[in-house]
């Protein structure tokens, strides 16, 4: 669908993308982790897209199998949610993923 193409394009053309909900603390935690690492992700607040919000969430579920927020992409690849991103950080793997993605 056209929406699916636009989501695919968004994650391909931006080094770090976070699909979020503005009032969700797990989404905020991921956004502040990137801020702490000096990274400015493209943040898309699904609850601020009006009728398209639930539709984009369905596309994300189709593309990634994940219907929850936050949904994080780095270098065009889906990383997962908040706990996944924080785990990568604690294992020291997040920073190398970020430098590869932002170096392109």
């Amino acid at each position: 669908s056209r929406l699916e193409e636009s989501v695919k394009k968004t994650v391909a053309h931006n080094p770090v993308v976070v699909y979020s909900k503005s009032w969700c603390s797990y989404s905020s935690e991921v956004k502040s982790l990137f801020k702490k690492l000096g990274v400015k992700p493209l943040v898309i607040e699904l609850d601020e897209l009006g009728a398209q919000g639930p539709q984009v969430q369905k596309v994300l579920e189709r593309l990634t199998g994940q219907h929850t927020v936050p949904n994080v992409f780095i270098g065009g690849k889906q990383v997962g949610g908040c706990t996944d991103t924080v785990k990568l950080y604690h294992k020291g793997e997040l920073e190398s993923l970020l430098s590869k993605a932002t170096a392109k």
Copy 2:
């Protein structure tokens, strides 16, 4: 209002009460902390109350100044949200609050 009276009665008559939203990870974190401590709180899922959900949330905001979830009460006193409850736990203060409240 009648709803305010019923919320006041609920927090007065139950040792531990958690106002939650079923899909919220911060609400789940607080519920699992209590489970780990062997405590069975009264859990009220605001998103499962239908039209009353937002009304109860407004009453909680009027009574406690907090409009967010989770909203935790122990021994009739408002403790706060997830971060507040977890902080009390790490300071070793949560367990004494719980034993006082559940001993009654």
